[in-house]
């Protein structure tokens, strides 16, 4: 008897006019895993995220979360069910403080303002932003903004956290901090699915890696295997490189 | 049936003038994201300019077109440089409201110095009516429409074929990219605002040949113009052109079929229904 997959993505296809942004993509994520989705630019990774979380409607296929069909549901409904995503370009609420930003996420789970506030303070402590709690959100550096984004997401008590390129634009030191934070998030019981370009993070964090190219899934497996796979190399570097190598 | 065709013709004629007005407004919006609430009042200034040129110097409105264009161009330049540019960095609300202030100022100042009375130009060079198998075609209206079409296509040509025109289109498409490419976006801003105003000046001269002229005439034209621009899709020049004609026709036909007093309501309803179905307008 096989357990119902935590996240089950079945044959998702999404077309924009003639362009196949996602083409028959299937994969699953088990509870407690950290899974990375990689692929060259335009491979359809962010579109896939949007399809799973209700920001785009799917043209074909289904998405199941904990056995429940969440295909084409509204984003806020899916969020309430426990699937939370971030966007490639970090978004925070401008005329609020860091604390207020996190509280906004927290209102998904609590009603009383006092409860929301104390929970938000906990999240800020978790991500290390406590001493910046009264700063205006726009004043933060990129890396702090990303941590704020994670705090906001955590305040929503997700079971599955989907991060879209959370490592982009970080310095080496900030990268290590972010990797540590994601590990901490998983250790606290949150399953993590990321779209990522920064290979260092992918190699270190992932239990499994899924590779997309031009909307299709081409390879799936443990990081070391995937990276050595000739098809993956060809996808990233192009046919000419492969020809030269031969 | 004949009446219906007549109204259709009238609608197209006024619609073409609307198109010209709308192009000026949408150009400004596309380039700098400012909705000029004083647009209708610029039109009023244009109309009055033609009126005074005719009354005091005997210049037929058709010949006042170039004068209007230049005068309103300069006025637009002035207003952009000394007022609008100052609010560009501020909140969006300030940009919306500053043009309201300009609108109230201009219309009431005009009422002060010219009195609120209605004026009209009675004898223009090309006046009268043609009768084409029962359909009456007012010559001034017809000439205005031709003038509108010529000017509109002149603007299209300018934007697509001159260096400055292409720069304007570039800024419209992607401001930051244009900046990186070395385009002086501030200069493009003031130029676009000035060109938009010049177009309104031309429309004013054309309208003055048959429409009544008074300080508050801008109000309704302005509102209809916003609807047209939004309907066409903010920033789309083709959209503004098409929507202008569409609104002219709907307004005239609607007024004929239902009741003249509901003409405007029908235009507004048309706007609402269009953006409900297609939030970005026809070509946005």
């Amino acid at each position: 008897m096989s357990a119902v997959p935590f996240l089950d993505v079945q044959s998702i296809s999404k077309y924009f006019g003639g362009v196949r942004a996602c083409d028959d993509v299937s994969f699953h994520v088990d509870r407690g895993e950290i899974v990375s989705i990689i692929g060259p630019n335009g491979a359809g990774k962010s579109t896939l995220f949007s399809c799973i979380t209700g920001f785009h409607s799917v043209d074909k296929g289904r998405v199941f979360f904990k056995g429940q069909d969440i295909t084409n549901q509204k984003p806020h409904t899916i969020a309430k069910l426990g699937v939370v995503r971030t966007f490639q370009i970090v978004q925070v609420i401008s005329d609020m403080t860091v604390l207020e930003n996190v509280m906004t996420g927290g209102f998904l789970r609590h009603s009383r303002v006092a409860d929301v506030r104390s929970h938000a303070e906990e999240m800020l402590a978790f991500t290390g932003l406590t001493d910046k709690r009264n700063h205006n959100a726009l004043e933060l550096s990129i890396s702090d903004k990303k941590r704020l984004e994670v705090s906001m997401s955590l305040a929503m008590k997700p079971e599955l956290l989907m991060l879209d390129e959370s490592m982009a634009g970080l310095t080496r030191v900030e990268l290590r901090e972010m990797i540590a934070l994601i590990r901490k998030v998983r250790a606290n019981g949150v399953t993590v699915l990321v779209v990522e370009h920064v290979m260092e993070a992918v190699m270190e964090l992932s239990d499994r890696v899924i590779v997309l190219n031009t909307g299709r899934k081409i390879v799936e497996g443990p990081p070391k295997e995937v990276v050595a796979n000739p098809e993956v190399i060809r996808a990233y570097l192009g046919e000419r490189y492969n020809a030269v190598r031969k | 049936m004949e009446q219906l065709v007549q109204q259709l013709v009238n609608g197209v004629l006024i619609g073409l003038v609307y198109s010209l007005l709308a192009i000026g407004l949408t150009l400004v919006w596309g380039v700098m994201n400012v909705l000029n609430f004083a647009h209708g009042d610029f039109l009023m200034i244009g109309m009055f300019l033609s009126y005074w040129l005719y009354t005091l110097a005997g210049i037929d409105p058709l010949f006042s077109i170039p004068i209007n264009a230049v005068a309103l161009f300069l006025m637009g330049l002035f207003i952009y440089r000394f007022i609008i540019s100052k609010v560009m960095k501020g909140p969006g609300l300030a940009q919306l409201v500053v043009t309201f202030g300009i609108s109230i100022f201009i219309s009431n100042f005009a009422a002060l110095i010219w009195t609120p009375n209605f004026r009209s130009i009675d004898h223009t060079l090309l006046s009268g009516t043609w009768d084409i198998s029962g359909i009456k075609l007012s010559i001034p209206k017809f000439v205005s429409s031709i003038g509108s079409i010529l000017t509109s296509f002149g603007v299209f040509w300018f934007l697509k074929n001159t260096r400055t025109g292409k720069a304007i289109l570039a800024v419209e498409m992607d401001r930051e990219a244009a900046l990186i490419m070395g385009i002086n976006t501030e200069r493009i801003n003031s130029l676009s605002f000035a060109i938009g105003s010049a177009l309104v000046g031309v429309a004013g001269a054309l309208l003055a040949t048959y429409y009544y002229i008074y300080p508050f005439v801008g109000g309704t034209f302005g509102l209809v113009c916003f609807c047209i621009v939004a309907l066409g899709g903010f920033g789309s020049i083709e959209g503004a052109f098409i929507a202008g004609i569409l609104v002219g026709v709907v307004q005239t036909l609607g007024g004929y079929i239902f009741a003249p007093s509901y003409k405007l309501a029908i235009v507004f309803a048309m706007y609402l229904i269009t953006v409900w179905i297609r939030p970005q307008g026809l070509r946005g």
Binding site: G54, F55, K74, P75, H76, A79, R85, T86, F87, Q91, V92, I93, S94, D95, M96, E100, T104, G105, F107, S111, V116, M152, M156 | L35, V87, G90, P91, L93, A94, Q95, L96, V97, V98, F100, G101, I102, S103, I104, F105, N108, F109, L112, P116, L223, F226, C227, A230, F234, S261, Y262, L264, A265, F268, A269, Y271, L272, V275, W276, P279, G281
Partner: protein, 322 residues
Amino acid sequence: MGMHTISGKKLAAGGALLTLLIILPLVSSSFGQHVMIITFMFAMCGVAWNVMGGYAGMFSFGQVAFFGIGAYTSSFLVLTFHLSPWIGLVAGGVISALLAAAIGYPCSKLRGHYFAIASIAFAEIVRIVFTNWDMVGAAEGLTLPMVKESLTHFMFHSSKLPYYYIMLLFLLLAVAVCYWVSTSKMGYYFRAIKESHEIAEVLGVNVVRYRLFAIMISAFLTSMAGTFYAQYILYIDPESVMIMPISVQIVLVAMLGGANTVLGPVVGAAILIPLSEYSRAWLGYKGTGVDMILYGTLITLISMYQPAGVWGAITNLMRRGK
């Protein structure tokens, strides 16, 4: 930003101000009282506008529609069914809120300029309909009969004072509602929506539903002000309660004061309304519109040099002074 608990200092200042407002009309001329009443009325509309505009980012330039519907509903019910204006007050508010939801729902995806123009289109349609609707007097409007002075009749002849205190109470109610909204879940969600629909959805906000909340609250409060106006002036017609300049005035009041603060519109009204009322009284009587020229100039200057509003400037000064 109105989100922290009220300090003792602020409470004391508020109390002093309130006392002043209670005493002030007793020492003012009739015209002075009138100016203050109109000030409170626009302040209330400005506060109501803030709920959907300043907080949720939906810049409505069509609030006059709800103002007018409030005025017409209560007046119609008084004239036709002899119902107390207080019932009309609630009825008008409910009708306005429902209409706001009906229009707001299809407009759920509209933002910025598109929304602003939709609000203008809506308000103009309402005005044109009422101008042609015989049941409510078409262009001639409705005149309320003078009845025996009483609170239930919402009518007072001998003095403006009762009107003053009632309007002040309405304003306090609006301020209380706005404050409650700003510090509650709704307020946080509104701000998220204002930032972007996307980020609001990401945070689990039902954007459509919360936008409707904002619009309905705003419409109800604005409608109350309209009913008050009808009972105060006793004559309403589309040209006095449904025209766009009123909508613009409301936005200005909120913007001048500070578009996303609770008390901003009150400050804005306190500056703008006496200015326009007194300049109309002194300069406008000749019909020359000099007062409007001044008004237009003022609006332009404010937008250029103090777009964050006076309240914003004051709080900035206070913050820097600390």
